[in-house]
């Protein structure tokens, strides 16, 4: 009789205490080998060997391609031992020879497939192009790394296949492994260990320790040097393993029991359904976790199916497993035989009817052996124990159903969810059912069809995690995210600043890709710009006021044959519904370029439309997206008709969101328009009141850019120039709307102010303006103008120097003033300018009820612009005080 030893640290050794046990052939109950029986000391030694091997790095430190080369050698050694493996498995596990003769070759191929995949395609490292956190810029990537020491505990039904699964996946991913085969069937795992040694797999990488699970289980599942446990076996034992592993928080994958439903629909190919059901139920004597042990048959075809299934089942030959004539071999043990017989008795007691089988079988010429007849129960209620509990033998329950929905309900009425199938002539119908059954694998018109690249694993109490495929290989890795900060200045790290008294961020980024074309008649450049962007179909987006002023038509004429249509229903404060409507029109027109002609609301709507057109979905999918776009969006050309928003060059689109009751943003450099055409003709029809309020929007951008925590020399330069241009040209443009030079200077000022706040952000004035805009429809520019001077005074002590420069840009004579006085004078100068051009001076003029001021303060405090205000804003009552000042 053959003798097998433990395989620990690259050597075959006896058990430390010398114990052995006998492995028997379940087909005739005769002993076939003696096997060393591992005890706790041997388990400890195996774990230590695996840990040393992992830490040494001879295996884990190899590249995936380096490991693949060695695995190919391992696969070759398996092939050399193929016949011995097949025969041993057949005798040890009772598998019929027709099946197990194929296993070594298929498993060797699987080793090669998975090793190659791990070397060639597996995402060991993945860049994360957009982190989703705009406050921590940097490079982010994922690394997948070996876990360490993996324990594989496998059952007796497919010992060779399971040994390959646990060993191969673990070591391909750079781990080391301790395998505990089932005591009833330990031999094939030890032959695999021989092959590993012959192939030169380094010592300690693979260890095989057959021994009783009750004795070894606790050591293997609680040892601190074990990192992962992969268990295939009973749900009861799996539960205990999970509990034990939780003490040291090990990664655990479990493949447990099942009571899978094989659904036969009334349009199934009957012969296929019958053969599939026979395979699904009786293959390997039904000792398979995912076996289709409940056959659900639609009532219309029930009688025909039952008749054919009975006949086909009775044609199966039960015999000694080494005979090629045998279809059904023995069960693995006397205990399993007793269990199956007990459940058959339970089924009879529960009122189910035996159609065929239901008894032990004596095989001619064989004395002993654990043979049981393929057994079919009919008239089964899904609540019966035989329908709910996994029998793990050649016993199936047939259940009749009427509707597809009823079949799904019956299939899901189980604590398990491992496999299942649908037999139908209609793939669409079958796939619909498959989607609704809560289980890890669904076969359609097939059963037991596995694939090396197809993950396998259960739902519910059938287990956790996957084996095989990329998902299975990932279970054998840990995932690490690495972040490499892009900014090295601690004073510019917003998170670090939370724990300091710093209120400035000195480092900055300057990225302004928009091409600006400014001057008299510059609309003429639009065709060239559209074509240079690679486009041919430009849709104009605008508002009714711009249409009425004839400006939309002017732009349309400029586009000539490149024009395909216009969306002109954009309101003063745009919302996500408007964005979606514009997207729908653009899609119907097959527009490949958007030309926005209007003020801030039109331009922001267009920016959002460009995002949705590029990325799909709806506006709500993209709102509050901060720096998450990875590429340029649908091309966008802007022709501003106001001189305020600056949106023609900024990275923000502000959109009203009714659900959030405030304005939300898309903030991303990829939404900066491609081109801004500043043609003063487009602003000449702007009435004096709008000229004033939109200019105050620009003024607020410029001033706030200098009064945030992030002002810098570039943004300050642009802001100061913009402030001067507005101061000098706004009164001229209000007095004479046809003053083209004044109009152009205001446009340029608005653009420069837009650049300034794109770099340096805005603060409290915008937070407050957004709020009264979204809650009470106060035009944004007017709101900004009203609030700006008050906020300037609020910030006077935190950005004194910059306010002094602003005062100078506004023409204030600061001679004889101290800094604070000069800074306050800047606010006074703003108010004087506003009065001189007829700008509204109170909120009351917009019919805002006074009692709403408190709730406005709360909303404004939650606006993200407050984060950037030079003076910290923590208390809504401070904001309330400011609202009251302008009421």
């Amino acid at each position: 009789m053959d003798k097998y030893k433990l395989f620990i640290d690259g050597e075959f050794v006896d058990a430390r205490d010398g114990r052995t046990f006998v492995s028997i052939d379940p087909g005739n109950e005769l002993p076939i080998a003696t096997v060393a029986q591992a005890g706790k000391v041997d388990a400890e030694a195996a774990i230590q060997a695996a840990r040393r091997a992992f830490e040494k790095g001879d295996w884990s430190g190899l590249s995936p391609a380096g490991r693949a080369e060695k695995i190919y050698n391992f696969a070759d050694e398996i092939i050399k031992r193929g016949l011995r493996l097949a025969l041993t498995e057949c005798m040890d596990a009772g598998q019929i020879i027709d099946f197990c003769k194929t296993t070594p070759g298929l498993q060797a191929a699987q080793m090669r497939n998975l090793a190659y995949f791990a070397a060639d395609k597996f995402p060991w490292q993945e860049e994360i192009p957009v982190s989703g956190n705009p406050f921590c810029p940097g490079r982010d990537y994922l690394r997948r790394e070996p876990i360490g020491v993996c324990v594989g505990i496998i059952p007796w039904n497919f010992p060779m296949v399971m040994a390959f699964w646990k060993i191969t996946q673990a070591i391909i991913m750079g781990n080391t492994v301790v395998l505990k085969p089932a005591s009833a069937t330990p031999l094939s795992a030890l032959i695999i260990a021989e092959a590993a040694k012959a192939a030169g797999i380094p010592k300690g990488v693979i260890n095989v320790i057959p021994g009783p699970g009750g004795e070894l289980g606790k050591v293997l599942c609680t040892h601190p040097d074990v990192d992962k446990i992969s268990f295939t076996g009973s749900t009861e034992v799996g539960r205990e393993i999970m509990k034990m592993a939780s003490d040291t928080v090990k990664k655990v994958t479990l493949e447990l029991g099942g009571k899978s439903a094989n659904i036969i629909l009334d349009d199934a190919d009957m012969n296929l359904a019958v053969e599939g059901s026979v395979l699904g139920t009786f293959f390997h004597q039904g000792q398979i976790c995912e076996s289709g042990t409940r056959i659900l048959v639609q009532s219309k075809i029930y009688d025909e199916f039952i008749s054919k299934f009975k006949k086909r089942t009775e044609a199966l030959r039960v015999g000694y497993q080494l005979l090629t004539s045998s279809h059904i071999g023995p069960l693995v043990s006397a205990a399993q035989l007793a269990t199956v017989d007990q459940y058959v008795k339970i089924g009879k007691k529960e009122g189910a009817e035996i159609l065929t089988g239901g008894k032990r079988v004596e095989v001619e010429g064989i004395k002993g052996g654990f043979y049981y007849a393929p057994t079919v129960f009919v008239n089964v209620n899904n609540k019966m124990r035989i329908a709910q509990e996994e029998i793990f033998g050649p016993v199936v329950c047939v259940i009749k159903f009427d509707s597809d929905e009823e079949a799904v309900a019956i299939a899901n009425d189980s604590i398990y969810g491992l496999g299942g199938s649908v037999f139908s002539g209609n793939n669409d119908r079958a796939e619909r059912m498959a989607r609704n059954v809560r289980t890890g694998t669904m076969w359609i018109n097939a059963y037991h069809a596995f694939g090396d690249f197809c993950p396998f694993g259960g739902y519910k109490q059938s287990g956790i995690g996957k084996e095989l495929g990329q998902a299975g290989l990932e279970e054998y890795t840990n995932t690490k995210r690495v972040h490499v900060a892009a900014w090295a200045d601690p004073e510019s790290n917003l998170y670090m600043n939370i724990l300091s008294d710093r209120n400035r961020v000195d480092s900055f980024q300057y990225y302004i890709p928009t091409k600006v074309i400014a001057g008299h008649g510059m609309l003429a450049s639009i065709c060239k710009e559209v074509v240079d962007l690679g486009c041919k179909r430009a849709m104009i987006m605008t508002d009714p006021g711009v249409v009425k002023a004839g400006l939309s038509k002017l732009a349309q004429n400029g586009l000539a044959s490149l024009y395909v249509g216009v969306f002109d229903q954009i309101a003063q404060d745009t919302d996500i519904e408007t964005v979606d409507a514009a997207v729908d029109l653009a899609l119907s027109l097959k527009a490949d370029c958007i030309v926005s002609v209007g003020g801030g609301s039109v331009i922001d709507t267009a920016k959002a439309v460009c995002v949705v057109l590029k990325n799909g979905g709806r506006a709500n999918d993209h709102i509050t997206g901060w720096n998450r776009l990875k590429e340029p969006q649908t091309p966008h050309i802007v022709i501003p008709t106001t001189s305020g928003t600056g949106s023609e060059v900024t990275s923000a689109a502000v959109i009203k969101h009714k659900g959030a009751d405030r304005k939300l943003f898309i903030l991303d450099p990829h939404i900066m328009p491609n081109v801004a055409i500043l043609d003063p003709r487009f602003t000449m029809t702007l009435p004096p009141s709008l000229t004033a309020t939109t200019a105050m929007d620009a003024m607020t951008h410029a001033v706030e850019a200098m009064c945030t925590i992030t002002p810098n020399e570039i943004s300050n330069g642009m802001a100061l120039r913009a402030i001067r241009l507005i101061k000098e040209n706004l009164p001229l443009a209000v007095a004479d709307g046809r003053n083209e030079k004044a109009r152009l200077n205001l446009q340029v000022a608005a653009t420069m102010a837009g650049w300034a706040f794109t770099i340096a952000s805005v603060g409290l004035a915008h937070a407050m303006a957004h709020t009264i805009g979204s809650q009470h429809n106060v035009p944004h520019g007017a709101a900004c103008g009203l609030i700006l001077p008050k906020v300037m005074r609020f910030n006077v002590d935190t950005c004194t120097d910059n306010l002094v420069q602003i005062a100078q840009a506004l023409g204030v004579n600061i001679f004889n003033m101290d800094k604070r006085q000069a800074a306050l004078a800047a606010a006074d100068a703003i108010e004087e300018l506003m009065k001189s051009v007829g700008h509204p001076m109170t909120l009351r003029e917009f019919n805002i009820p006074e009692e709403s001021l408190e709730s406005l303060s709360l909303h404004a405090a939650g606006d993200s612009c407050t984060l950037f205000n030079a003076r910290q804003v923590n208390d809504p009552s401070e904001i309330l005080a400011l609202y009251k000042q302008i009421y």
Binding site: P155, W156, N157, A182, S183, A184, G211, P212, G213, G214, G217, K218, T232, G233, S234, T235, E236, V237, G238, R239, E240, K243, S246, E255, L256, G257, G258, Q287, C289, V332, S333, A334, A335, Q336, A338, T339, D341, Q342, Y343, E350, G351, N381, K383, M384, R385, Q388, E389, E390, I391, F392, I415, Y416, Q461, S462
Partner: protein, 118 residues
């Protein structure tokens, strides 16, 4: 035939009282708890004609002759370790290599329905 370890009898009585079981007959049976490796378990049941019967400390235990022949003497223990409370059944001839590894409760079955302590 059946041995009760310390605390087991008291735990069984307490469990049955809590569930309101009137005639406490506890069967030792073979149960399949998913996939391979059946195990011994306890279930509240009626006495069948062919059963082997043993009274211990006011409790009636039954086992089928076939199962008794398969497993030999059965020892019922009780553990109240944190996270591992329940009954542990081991036998002279272990049902499987996982004998004694898991804990279970006493099952009660409604007719034609799955039990509620699975």
């Amino acid at each position: 035939m059946i041995k009760l370890a310390a605390k087991a009898g008291q735990a069984i009585r307490a469990f049955l009282a809590e569930k309101g079981v009137q005639r406490p007959v506890v069967r030792i049976h073979l149960q399949s708890r998913g996939c391979c490796d059946s195990s011994l378990g306890l279930i509240v049941d009626d006495i069948h004609e062919s059963d082997l019967l043993q009274e211990i400390d006011g409790l009636t235990f039954v086992i089928s002759p076939a199962i008794h022949q398969l497993v030999g003497e059965v020892t019922i223990s009780y553990t109240d370790e944190i996270g591992r409370e329940g009954f542990v059944l081991t036998s002279e001839k272990p049902v499987s290599e996982w004998d004694g590894f898991s804990v279970s409760t006493i099952r009660r079955l409604e007719s034609n329905s799955t039990e509620n302590d699975y």
